[in-house]
């Protein structure tokens, strides 16, 4: 087993021998990307993102033997992580799709002259907007894929994206005005 071993070779070692080093190699290869994805979805809450990553790997380990390798391991892990984000949101009674009522730009404290960066603006979006924007504009999911993943129609995904982009521009413009 080397750092250059394929995901499948490493996964076989994990499944067959419980090889910890193979697992650590897989973990270090994929976690940074999946963690960044989750961190954006949960609005920058590092503790929540880490809990989700842990659950994602636990579920992945349990399902690894049945994984058919029809998609990349990274995509599969991302899908599991997204489901975990959905479950977490459901537990907290927080919709990943709907935005309740009139949404107001949250007050943001920043130093004079500091520009609000794009990642911070995404964090400030309500979850209903943030999810679709991250999936579509950052991760490159299609509306159909988003619909399938979140259990919504393509139309809902499109209208949420429209609202999300408007809201993001408002946040960034507000940042410029107050800077």
């Amino acid at each position: 087993m080397t750092e250059q071993s394929t995901d499948r070779e490493l996964a076989d070692l994990v499944i067959g021998q419980g090889d910890e080093q193979a697992f650590r190699t897989l973990y270090r290869r994929h976690t940074p990307a999946v963690y960044q994805f989750v961190l954006r979805l949960v609005g920058g809450n590092a503790q929540e993102a880490e809990d989700i990553i842990q659950e994602t790997w636990m579920r992945a380990a349990r399902g690894l033997e049945g994984f058919k390798w029809k998609s990349a391991l990274r995509s599969w892990l991302t899908g599991i992580a997204l489901n975990r984000v959905r479950e977490m949101a459901r537990k907290k009674k927080r919709s990943l799709v709907e935005v309740d009522g009139e949404w107001e730009i949250p007050a943001v404290s920043r130093d004079p002259g500091e520009r609000l960066d794009l990642d911070r603006a995404i964090q400030l979006l309500p979850p209903g907007f943030r999810t679709v924007l991250v999936l579509h504009d950052v991760e490159g999911f299609t509306h159909q894929e988003i619909g399938n993943r979140l259990g919504i129609t393509d139309g809902t995904s499109k209208s949420q994206l429209h609202g999300a982009r408007k809201a993001m521009r408002r946040i960034l413009n507000a940042g410029l005005e107050t800077a």
Binding site: V14, Y27, I53, R59, G66, R90
Partner: protein
């Protein structure tokens, strides 16, 4: 340009967002430790040649799982009876060869048969007006077991997970569990 569309600058800014971030180093150790405790990874103590894999701990055990286990046992027993009858009609060697040669299609057929039997039994229970809470509990336990297996087969399937979630929430409610207190480990 349509106001809905991203400007080229916005597109570029989004594409240039960092694609990776480093979680805390402790997280890796937490994950590895949890996987060891669940028996998926060899702990250093069990790496010596000839030592078996650790058995999974049972810290996730919940009372309602007993019902699911009973349901699974009943299903296993019923399958055994059916299999026994089927094998009894054939020579042992032939039967074993046939069992081994069962492909995915045949297994899918068996699942369909078992599923039909489950639904028929439920319908009969309902028509007779017997069974009550006990029958309903066993039926739910079997349903939960099936949802769990499906989720294990395809953990990325959001709809399957939703079904499992609904069943878990129901059990939590009935048993007075607070969903927030439960550390979800379902397969």
């Amino acid at each position: 340009m349509n106001e809905k569309d991203l400007t080229p600058e916005e597109k570029m800014a989004l594409q240039n967002l960092p694609r990776e971030a480093a979680p805390s180093r402790i997280l890796e150790e937490r994950v590895v430790q949890a996987l060891r405790e669940d028996g998926f990874l060899e702990s250093p103590a069990t790496l010596a040649p000839g030592r078996g894999r650790k058995t999974r701990d049972r810290s996730w055990y919940r009372p309602w799982m007993a019902v699911a286990s009973v349901a699974a046992s009943v299903a296993l027993f019923a399958s055994g009876v059916v299999l026994g009858q089927w094998m009894g009609a054939q020579s042992t060697t032939q039967a074993f060869i046939q069992v081994r040669e069962q492909d995915a299609t045949q297994l899918a057929l068996r699942i369909q048969e078992a599923g039909s039997a489950y639904v028929s039994a439920l319908a009969a229970l309902g028509e007779l007006g017997v069974g009550g809470d006990e029958g309903r509990e066993v039926a739910l336990g079997a349903l939960y077991g099936a949802a769990n297996e499906l989720a294990r087969m395809s953990p990325e399937d959001a709809e399957v997970l939703r079904i499992l979630q609904i069943l878990e929430e129901r059990r939590d409610r009935e048993e007075g569990w607070d969903a927030d207190d439960r550390n979800t480990v379902w397969f």
